[in-house]
């Protein structure tokens, strides 16, 4: 039971972080379908830091270093999206998809190259971080507390304050609702949209490293992050683009995802003898149902997905 709670909170943290990322980007008016790819690159940065960092360093320093590299990688990678979609008015769906494919391919190429350089016979795309990973967790009784849970909580509160209580947040949302009106009162729409996308890169980058350190001590980068970036988008839609609702939605989805990790530990679930694949499918099926129920009267930012053209006011 403790294990279920632990995994639920972990996966919910991932979903909160990435969904908030999507939330910032979409409130500024850019649909970020590249979240999945940003997660992979953020995860790659974090995993390599864990691999090379000296495990005897103070734990706090390790956590901060991992967090820092993941953020940096996520932000830099999200620039590719901002550059193409804001400055060059590219199709946001196409570029987002390209980023997802590029991230998976690039991460595999990078990890394989590193592995081959170390040992020519090792052609796997796996990064191991068994020892350094211990710095990320604190055992409280049976419950394994992960520092990233705290990070997710802080991100959730901060997002709420930034979006609703600051000038920056309100201006950001104006750019997603009616960019022409925002521009007419002197807000630079391009800058705001860049800010939205970069914040989404920051959050999704952290989300990536949290996902690949949840319960495992190595990651095979050929697999990417298994559609988690898109699950986060479903969470965002279910949460109606509002931070608090996103937090609750993430807990629900996190629960079903956690179930596929620990179902064999429950006697009554194991007795039902349902194949593991069914549990694996569960989060995706739930999200389809949830999307079907909530999309009809969605509160999506009105101008999302439409490139802003100063000339067409």
């Amino acid at each position: 039971m403790v294990l279920l709670l632990q995994y639920t909170l972990l996966f919910a943290s991932v979903l909160i972080l990435v969904a908030l990322g999507g939330c910032f980007s979409e409130h500024s008016g850019v649909i970020n379908l590249g979240l999945e790819g940003i997660m992979v690159i953020g995860a790659l940065g974090g995993a390599l830091t864990l691999k090379y960092i000296n495990p005897s360093l103070p734990k706090l320093l390790i956590v901060l270093a991992v967090l820092g590299t993941s953020i940096l990688c996520g932000v830099i990678y999200s620039m590719l999206l901002a550059f193409a979609c804001i400055n060059f008015k590219a199709d946001q769906t196409l570029v987002g998809t390209a980023l997802n494919m590029l991230a998976a391919a690039a991460a595999t190429v990078i990890v394989k190259s590193i592995n081959i350089a170390e040992n020519p016979d090792n052609v796997s795309s796996t990064v191991q971080y068994v020892t350094a990973k211990k710095a990320l967790v604190v055992n409280i009784g049976k419950f394994q507390f992960n520092w990233f849970m705290l990070v997710a909580l802080i991100a959730l509160i901060a997002s709420y304050i930034v979006l609703y209580k600051t000038r920056f947040g309100l201006r950001l949302m104006a750019c997603g609702e009616h960019p022409q009106a925002a521009d007419s009162v002197g807000i630079n729409v391009y800058t705001m949209r860049w800010a939205g996308v970069l914040i989404s890169g920051l959050l999704a980058g952290i989300g990536g490293i949290v996902y690949i350190t949840a319960g495992v001590s190595e990651w095979k980068f050929e697999n990417g992050v298994a559609g988690f970036g898109f699950l986060a988008l479903a969470v965002m839609i279910f949460g109606q683009w509002k931070p608090v609702n996103i937090g609750l939605a993430a807990l629900l989805f996190g629960f079903f995802r956690a179930l596929s990790n620990v179902y064999s530990g429950f006697d009554f679930l194991a007795a039902l003898n349902i194949p593991g694949s069914v549990y694996n499918m569960m989060p995706y099926i739930i999200s389809l149902i949830v999307l079907a129920l909530t999309s009809a009267n969605s509160r999506a930012p009105k101008a999302e997905g439409i490139p802003y053209d100063k000339g067409s006011r």
Partner: protein
Amino acid sequence: MSAENKSTEKVSFFARPAVQSILASLLCIVFGLLIGYIALLFINAKGATEAIITIIKNYFTYPTKAAALKYFGNTLVKAAPLLMCALSIQFCYQAGLFNIGAAGQYVAGAGASLFCALKLGLPWYVCLIAAFVAGGIFGIVVGILKAYLNVNEVISGIMLNWIGLYTVNMLLSGVKETASPYTVTLASTNKAAVLPSIGLEKFFSNNKYVTIAIPLAILIAVLLKVILSMTVFGYEIRATGIAKDAAKYSGMKEKRNIILTLFIGGALAGLGAAFLYLTGYEQWSVTQSSVPGMGFNGIAATFLGGLDPIGTIFASYFIQHITSGGSYLDKNIYPSQISDFISAIIIYLCGFVLFFKYFLNSRIRNKKNNAEGGNK
């Protein structure tokens, strides 16, 4: 290109849409290969030039003509399903729908065709129909969710990709080899399910995997071109894509069109899977934990092909050519995924095509205005 010779009059050469599309695609390819080359240089500078040549040469690396022809056949065998996925995405894109679910529809097609072939022992044409229907049903689900419940087709498509993968893994675990995670071979279980080759294999040094799938895929591409450019249905699809509300206002049933488009798109992708798995070239692994990349590579092919069915034939071949070429790299120096990397770069660059055309057209217009400036 015959257009090159007679381009001097009236419309300037670079103003032709077809020329612009081809030019843009060629630029994407050149830059994609260049960035791939730079990546190779970073990994190991010494062999990088040789490596990029290996990728571009693909089967030409074989010294004898017979061997080269045989492996040319293999590339074609895999290019056919890729073309089908690309056509699926393209057909939906014409209606303004981004069918990223092609990957899942492809998986559904693979599952249905292999289940009919291996478990039920049905002949190949029934298996093809099963794949067509299974892929189509996956498409319809996305279509209904989109048309009636306003669900973003990209997100529902991704969800169905994973649902499809796990379902097919469960479905096919009944017909897998006892010692391996792969499904039993068609040749040993049900020869009638193998696609007929009607003598095509003779052109490819008796490569038995070369079947009617390849000409069929090309035929379907031509058929789609005709449907899109010459029929009322095709016109309605494109109208829905360009201006959904205008199409609705002028009496087109836009909901029905969305569902129908995604059904056809899904069916095409499903058929594509049957085109591969019914040749016996590959077996399905029931333990695979990621969705096959064919559907995603289809996105590269369709945009590189300038969103035109005929252009997509060549683009699909090119993408498969470099993907196959990547497998000839020395695995102990370079990862073969460098080809996927190049494909992904190409898709990213395709995002700039619209801007490129806009830039080109405004340059041409400026030039024209400057030349006629005195008269007007």
